[in-house]
């Protein structure tokens, strides 16, 4: 009985993934075509024909802004936590806050982004507002992943460095960062995936149903997840919604798997020093 529950639950998880992917492929696969990826939405009601190119472009730019804005501060914060602050009260405090931030629902980050970037700073509904909101959303995750990546580096390197009297910065630059780099990169990829899929925060800060023209920091953008939401909820085209979902999931899958690969491929390199 117990055994059945245990095996059943394990297999159920696989079944769920297979069902999701199967559904997306079966219903969305047909919509996929070169045109779908490279054309703008067309048709009497935009989106019933044509493609999703502006949405892909928008999502890519949102992710780019978000990761550019978040990656460096996150890395510096992680370096501070691991190498300098360590167990000081300050570091404890920061760790606590970061932990608390991870739990903030993304709609609330969106609410903040709307009140702060869109309204108070006057960026309007724009790529910049959305990107920065997403940056705030992924920042704590990035800090934690990067902190763990740095922490995983064999402590003996630090002892060797200290024994030679070199500074932490020198050790970081020559030993720790190079060796942790696949993990740091993996963290960024993961966060990019997270940002690319987020809908609620950009719904109120960046996304529009239709955009034509080039990408501009102060203009709004279309975005894949929002486009999916519109295609479905406004009943524009279910087929195309499936196609869009498939594209979105495939992009995220690629990002996640790449990140996973980096971590498992170079994982050993970090912790052992052979």
């Amino acid at each position: 009985m117990g055994r059945i529950c245990l095996w059943g639950s394990g297999l159920a998880v696989i079944a769920v993934l297979l069902a999701i992917m199967g559904l997306l492929l079966a219903r969305g696969g047909g919509a996929l075509s070169w045109e779908f990826l490279t054309a703008a939405p067309k048709g009497l009601i935009l989106g019933t024909e044509g493609g999703i190119y502006p949405a892909i472009l928008g999502t890519v730019s949102l992710v780019a802004v978000a990761s550019l804005a978040a990656a460096i501060p996150a890395l510096l914060t992680a370096i501070y936590l691991v190498e300098y602050g360590k167990t000081s009260t300050v570091a404890h405090g920061i760790n606590f806050v970061i932990q608390a931030m991870i739990g903030i629902p993304s709609i609330l980050t969106g609410l903040f982004g709307y009140a702060f970037f869109v309204v108070t700073l006057g960026f309007g509904i724009s790529l910049l507002s959305g990107g920065l909101t997403l940056a705030i959303m992924i920042l704590p995750t990035l800090v934690v992943l990067m902190r763990d990546a740095l922490q995983a580096v064999n402590d003996e390197y630090r002892l060797v460095g200290a024994s030679l009297g070199v500074s932490r910065r020198y050790l970081l630059q020559r030993v720790i960062l190079p060796i942790a780099s696949p993990h740091l990169l993996s963290a960024v990829l993961l966060a990019m995936g997270y940002a690319a899929g987020a809908t609620a925060p950009i719904m109120v800060t960046a996304a529009v149903v239709m955009s034509r023209g080039s990408i501009d920091l102060f203009s709004p953008v279309m975005a894949l997840p929002f486009h999916l939401y519109i295609l479905f909820s406004q009943h524009i085209s279910l087929d195309r919604a499936y196609g869009t979902a498939l594209v979105l999931v495939l992009i995220l899958l690629a990002l996640n798997l790449l990140s996973f690969y980096l971590r498992s491929r170079y994982g050993k390199r970090v912790t052992s020093h052979d």
């Binding site: 159920a12 998880v13 993934l17 999701i20 920061i94 629902p105 910065r169 809908t199 979105l248 996640n256």
Partner: protein, 288 residues
């Protein structure tokens, strides 16, 4: 070269960024709380416990009880489904599954966490809702139950990985001490390992609960968004997050409706944060 300039600079840059992150967090709290403050002052707790939400009536009425109850239904409901499934699966992965299968399932879970919530919401609304309508013969399938169902799938990976990690971190000696008595694996799991992992499982489930409560897109597309107090799991409702997502775009900045939506944000933030803080406290206290 006793003190390395760049070293000191790096240290201060790090501290600056760290402080910046903290500042951003605090400002998230402050903005959300600050924007809604006037309305709290005016309405007090009736804002929280009022059962009417008519933002455009004259005078408007704001009560978040419906949303609060909806959030509870959908998130608790998700836990009812996800907790047993996730815990069983975590135990299965840690104790029973052959190595390769465990690795496969963990990769699957990893992939599942990567699927964005709007896709879950979309699949839920286009597959589960019609299914639910057909099976139960109800006129309209959007319901807190459907939202819970999809939320459960979304948060199950967190519970699994928490449980899995908890069981993996139990020293092998405990298992061995059981085996040498000739008792079964199930008996050891239930009597020895589960109590040892208990605390971590509780915190995994609680954290998952927090995520389910804050999730937006899936509930927005599935919960039905009606303004009635949901009296059962199978009713429609409008969770806090869905309310905010639906109305914030159309509310005039600074209007009472705008403030009321931020008040909904405060309630949600308070709800989720208190879960996280208590978890943090619980974990730290246990460690000592």
């Amino acid at each position: 070269m006793l003190s390395d300039r760049k070293d000191i600079m790096l240290k201060w840059c790090g501290l600056l960024c760290a402080a910046g992150s903290v500042l951003v967090l605090l400002s998230v709290y402050m903005f959300i709380a600050g924007e809604s403050l006037p309305l709290w002052r005016e309405l007090g707790l009736s804002l929280l416990f009022g059962g009417e939400w008519q933002p455009l009536d004259n005078p408007p009425r704001f009560g978040l009880l419906i949303m609060l109850v909806s959030t509870l239904w959908s998130a608790l409901g998700a836990m009812v489904i996800a907790a047993p499934l996730g815990i069983c699966c975590g135990i299965f992965l840690a104790e029973y599954a052959p190595g390769w299968l465990s690795a496969v399932i963990r990769t699957v879970l990893y992939i599942l966490t990567g699927i964005p919530s709007v896709v879950y919401g979309f699949l839920g609304a286009s597959v589960i809702v019609p299914w639910y309508e057909r099976v139960f013969g109800v006129p309209s399938g959007e319901s807190l139950f459907c939202a819970s169902l999809v939320l459960a799938v979304m948060v199950v990976p967190y519970i699994v990985s928490g449980t899995y990690a908890a069981f993996r971190s139990i020293p092998a000696a405990y298992r061995e001490a059981g085996y040498v008595l000739g008792v079964s694996q199930l008996y050891i799991t239930a009597k020895v390992l589960a109590p040892l992992a208990g605390r971590h499982m509780v915190s995994a489930v609680t954290l998952a609960f927090g995520r389910a409560a804050g999730e937006t897109m899936a509930v927005l597309m599935l919960a039905g968004n009606t303004l009635t107090l949901p009296l059962s799991w199978f009713s429609k409702g409008e969770p806090l997050s869905a309310l905010i997502a639906l109305e914030i775009g159309t509310a005039t900045v600074g209007s009472p409706q705008y403030q009321a939506l931020f008040a909904a944000g405060v309630v949600l933030l308070f709800f989720v944060s208190s879960i996280n803080f208590s978890m943090y406290y619980f974990n730290n206290r246990g460690r000592n």
